[in-house]
Amino acid sequence: MTDGHSHNGHPKAPASFEVRILRQDGPGQPSYWERHRVEYEPEMNVISVLQRIAAKATTADGKHVAPVAWDCNCLEEVCGACTMVINGTVRQSCSALVDRLLAERPGEIELAPMTKFSVVRDLVVDRSRLFRALTKVKAWVPVDGYYDVGPGPRVSPETQEQSYPLSECMSCGCCLDACPQYLKVEVERLEGESAADFEARVNKEYDRSFVGAHAISQAMLFNSHPTGANNAGARLDALMAEGGIQVCGNAQNCVAVCPKNIPLTTSIGRAGRATTIHQLKKWFGA
């Protein structure tokens, strides 16, 4: 590709551009910046940039390095895997288009791992805490079983239109990375500790820490389902326990960064009211 190639409103596309990546060889190791140079192609996204870097495995200075590790799967922003911090903003790398990134910051793209989860390697982070929170709030419909016992409850289109957006949450973790109250929890395995003991200790630590906007929103999703509501009390109890909704500082960053535009703050508001009523009912034994 030569200078002057015109594409998608980006009249002067460069022949190549630089990608700065914050790398880390493993947990607990120091991180370091590394520069790569990538040939420009039309219609690139950050995934294709990382694919070119992996194939080349050579830095801008010509040094051979191990390919940069990153997480991805669907490449169409429905699986949530490829979340990272791109030019300072947490988002999915598949939907981060190079033309747009270069338009907002010419000549360079900066990639870093999410900040609230421990780094496994380079841009790969451990987001198991996020899934653990879904267990904590019992984010499921407690059906009797999987035999055929007829249709589910009727649902009005209005309710469906309220539930569907909440159900689009792909557990990407953007809302958590942007949240000032969601603090990184890192647990190191002790010498001689069994895998099962370590997992139990990690889960205990996760359960004490803030569940985050995504899990609060999922709790509201299942509390509004006719059968899901049978567990509503248990979900509200979880949201009132340590690491629950009271940790939310109402910064509203979550809703601003959600790639699916899920009304997270609306869910948090609903959860706040529901937990208050739940508390009052408990006091008065209703």
Binding site: D25, G26, P42, E43, N45, I47, S48, Q51, A54, A55, A57, H64, V65, A66, P67, A69, C72, N73, C74, L75, E76, E77, V78, C79, G80, A81, C94, S95, R100, V120, R121, R127, F131, L134, T135, A139, W140, V141, V143, G145, Y146, D148, G150, P151, G152, V155, S156, P157, Q160, E161, S163, Y164, S167, E168, M170, S171, F222, H225, T227, G228
Partner: protein, 667 residues
Amino acid sequence: MATKRILVVGGGLAGLAATMKLAELGIDVDLMSLVPVKRSHSVCAQGGINSVNDLTRQQGDDEWLHFDDTVYGGDFLQHQPPVKEMAYWGPKIIELMDRLGVTFNRTPEGMLDRRRFGGTLFKRTAFAGATTGQQLLYALDEQVRRWEAAGKVKKYEFWDFLGPILDDNGTCRGAVAQDLVTMEIRSFPADAVVVGSGGPGLIYGRSTMSMACTGSAASRCFQSGAKYGNGEFIQVHPTAIPGADKLRLMSESARGEGGRVWVPRTPHDPRDPVTIPEGERYYFLEERYPKYKNLVPRDIATREIFDICVNEGLSVEKDRQCVYLDLTHIPKKELDRKLGGILGIYEKFQGVDPRTTPMKIFPAVHYSMGGLWVDYERSATGGLTVGSPRNQITNIANLYAIGECDYQYHGANRLGANSLLSCIFSGLIVAPGLENLLKGAKQAAAELPSSLFDQSRKQHQSRHDALLRRSGGGENPYLIHQELGDVMTKWATVVRRNDQLKEALGKVSDLYSRAKKCSLSDTGTWTNQNVVFTKALLDMFPLALTILKGALQRDECRGAHFKPDFAFGSLTATEAGERRRQAEAWCDRFEANNVKWLKSTVAQWTGDEVEITYEVVDTSLIPPRPRLYGLVGADDIEKVWKQRSAAREAVQDGNGSTAPATLAAAH
């Protein structure tokens, strides 16, 4: 006795459905996946899931017709009993998913809303916006999380299945797998292994499939002796958005909701498409297929779009092949409600609003009808015997396959919105059979001598270590993968020719030799994606060769497998008598071809090449008939065909029997 356990490999719709049902039956499950199961490729399915429903029933629809549409759409290449069973379970599966809280779209009265999909005239498809696969997967993921919390399921996410462990009798006793983070390789004793690892899209380089769809798990079973059926049947989806890293699906639901496919009658017309008058637009699907219009089955839509661009030179753009998929005539509000998800994808990745500007789309590799060969037990009524351990079993004892990676349900071509159904169905049906298998087993795998498991682990460890030692100077696995994808996409997709397939076989064999000399740019022992990818790449070749060899040998047109040199073509005569004679000849040729080719391709890996045999298809429930969507002379052919069928039936009645067609040797 130690507790018996089942290992499920893959946490998409099929693997999760199996896991959840097994847990309900009281069986402990290890669930293994390359990615957190909630991020499985099933999330990419957009349009919906098919079943007969109360409304279509009153329009004359029933389960039998859904079954018929599925085998007709699949050009009769599937054994019919499993397909029949699936169609009859369809309504129950949708009710189950509804109970699990799937946010299906609703009618004003609160019932499930339905849309129409390709290959049928009924509105059978239930949907949740345009992210139905995601919504179904989440419902199953939630149930499995519930069982995980209850201690019945143990997840192994970010683990790579390296192969089944077979004992001296060739019975599967577990699997070896690798932790993608720590790179630890270990054995998992299991009383049965169920592989639900999805399709092999990455063999084609870029496709609509996700990055985890390498086909490696299926290939590793294949290389361990499992048979692979109908590999050459690869569905190319008519409408995808071309991209540098991936070809993103544009759901069939866009046409189901009224989307129209067209090109300007003037090649490469530079005008803004919305300003091009109706008279200067060529709605080629509507003109060529007045009955099904834009909703012809996928293989036909794909070939027509290909034909318009390649043969007729009517591509919208000069340098790149594409046609318009137009939704701009539909009110925005309706589009947002029914298709918001997929329109968002187009907007996000192309930077253009499809509500006001027609989309540019082109076909892309999408789904593998073929997959691991599996068995079934036929019931007295022609369905499946529920609870039989033979259902979904491969030719290796205790090794099962479900979902896209089995070959069982879609024959030569899959109908839209049938894949979500077959994935969930195969996952649910495998469970009661496994329950009975476990009941009959005398010893738990965990009690077998540890030498069996150690030995298998060591084999995989030494393969891994040998790869890590190969640093510097060799071939680059990523570039070999690109070359493989280019060869496969060019010669083994929409139109297939024997000379090209022969050339492709040579090229892919060469690439395989080169791939074996790949060297790694990362020789580390922590989260080494380079070595994991290289292993997956090596395992793509046995399947790629299976696809090519199967396609080369199959000298006919069937479903997605189209060889113009063997196409029957339309009737040309206008004079009634001659036309009748042509129709008779057409039917003769059709019958002769079926005698030769109405057979499943069954491949086995000999260690360095593919060996192919053929298996007779159980067509005892619905006799094969010509697939005539839109063919010139279809009415005449159909008339001849009906007369012949009636004559055959009369003979059968005269004999006092309804002798079913020859059954497959295995059944």
